[in-house]
Symmetry: C2
Subunit: 218 residues, 2 copies
């Protein structure tokens, strides 16, 4: 069994490897808001437990074991988020912090039960895939909305950034997963998009926003 702190290092390493490929001590230090010497010493400790392949001055890499453990924590996080939204009525902007804590609960039964009650969900409330019990997970081949062209019709599939602020912004525009959106035009100057959906005839979305929305073409 791993400590709460180790679990957080695992999650961070896993997430950063996804986002930026290779992970430096500096990246991890910034992401966790923990000073570099502390990170170095934790990496040595986790290397001793075969969770991380650590060599001085080299990029950090999770071992297969580390990846699996990380994925299982992410599984618990995402199942919890889904449970909170679907079964308890929380908004998608409210669940991150709660799930951040519940993911560390030591009780396979609790998560098995959530999984059953949710009927084995494949995605969390932000569209991220929920790893299976073996830690296997796959992102579908979504596009960023920002990469789409005027005239295309797409369906909202996932959000990349899950900060409260961003999700509240989406709420205020009634943008949610599954929503069908037509791209009316793209401003060449700053890449702002004008889109149409539901009762929103011409909603304009900045490039910053469009970069954080993943869609499926329909």
């Amino acid at each position: 069994m791993y400590s709460l702190v180790e679990e957080n290092y695992l999650k961070a390493l896993f997430a950063l490897s996804k986002d930026i490929g290779s992970v430096s001590v500096n990246d991890l230090s910034k992401h966790l808001d923990i000073k570099m010497p502390t990170v170095t010493s934790m990496m040595k400790k986790m290397a001793a437990k075969k969770l991380v392949a650590y060599e001085s001055y080299k990029p950090l890499k999770l071992t297969e074991k580390g990846k699996k453990e990380a994925a299982l924590i992410i599984r618990k996080h995402r199942l919890t988020e889904m449970y909170l939204v679907e079964k308890m009525g929380f908004g998608w902007e409210e669940v991150h912090n709660i799930a951040e804590q519940i993911e560390h609960i030591k009780s396979p039964e609790l998560f098995t039960k959530m999984d059953e009650l949710l009927d084995y969900p494949k995605f969390d409330p932000h569209g991220a895939p929920i790893p299976d019990i073996n830690g296997e997970m796959e992102w579908k081949a979504y596009s960023k909305l920002s990469e789409c062209k005027a005239g295309e019709k797409v369906r909202m599939a996932a959000v990349i950034n899950t900060s409260d602020g961003f999700l509240e912004f989406l709420n205020s525009r009634e943008i949610r997963l599954g929503l069908k959106i037509k791209i009316m035009s793209v401003e060449p100057f700053d890449n702002t998009m004008v889109v149409r959906y539901k009762k929103h005839d011409q909603e304009s979305l900045s490039h910053t926003v469009c970069e954080r929305l993943l869609v499926e073409k329909v």
Copy 2:
């Protein structure tokens, strides 16, 4: 905000004061399975935070503040147990360990939501009262089954011991809260009771068991 460790000391102090009136360092040490010197030093630390009134060689006492904090943790524990049983389908023998962890979650919203979804329950799945949001709680005037006499009819109101083993024993005899029981006879020698309920015509319950069952006379 208190640490997980402090919260556990608070809960233990609260529970022991209920059970055995005054609490010694030794009692607390045994209950928490933590050595006495550690307990002494934690008591000093918690005294500095005004949670405990500590004087060398004197019995330990929670302050009003300490009692309220303890009751609020117990509130979270019991709400969680009720939620797990009522909304997730766990058995009353399965929920203690999970609630023991979830009670430390920092999210007033989570517990408010449980309370709402459960429609403001007054008792947990073992019949123990759930403190209100101000930490107020009251045990009803129940009797131990062991104190009842042959011929009396009673209703199961609560269980004192909530160990898995004891609850599984009750499950095996189909004894649950609300059950109406008639006391057929009491063996004078060892106080074993013969009782009748549902399809159980003459179930015999040891004194040890009867001591742990709280009932209301009907």
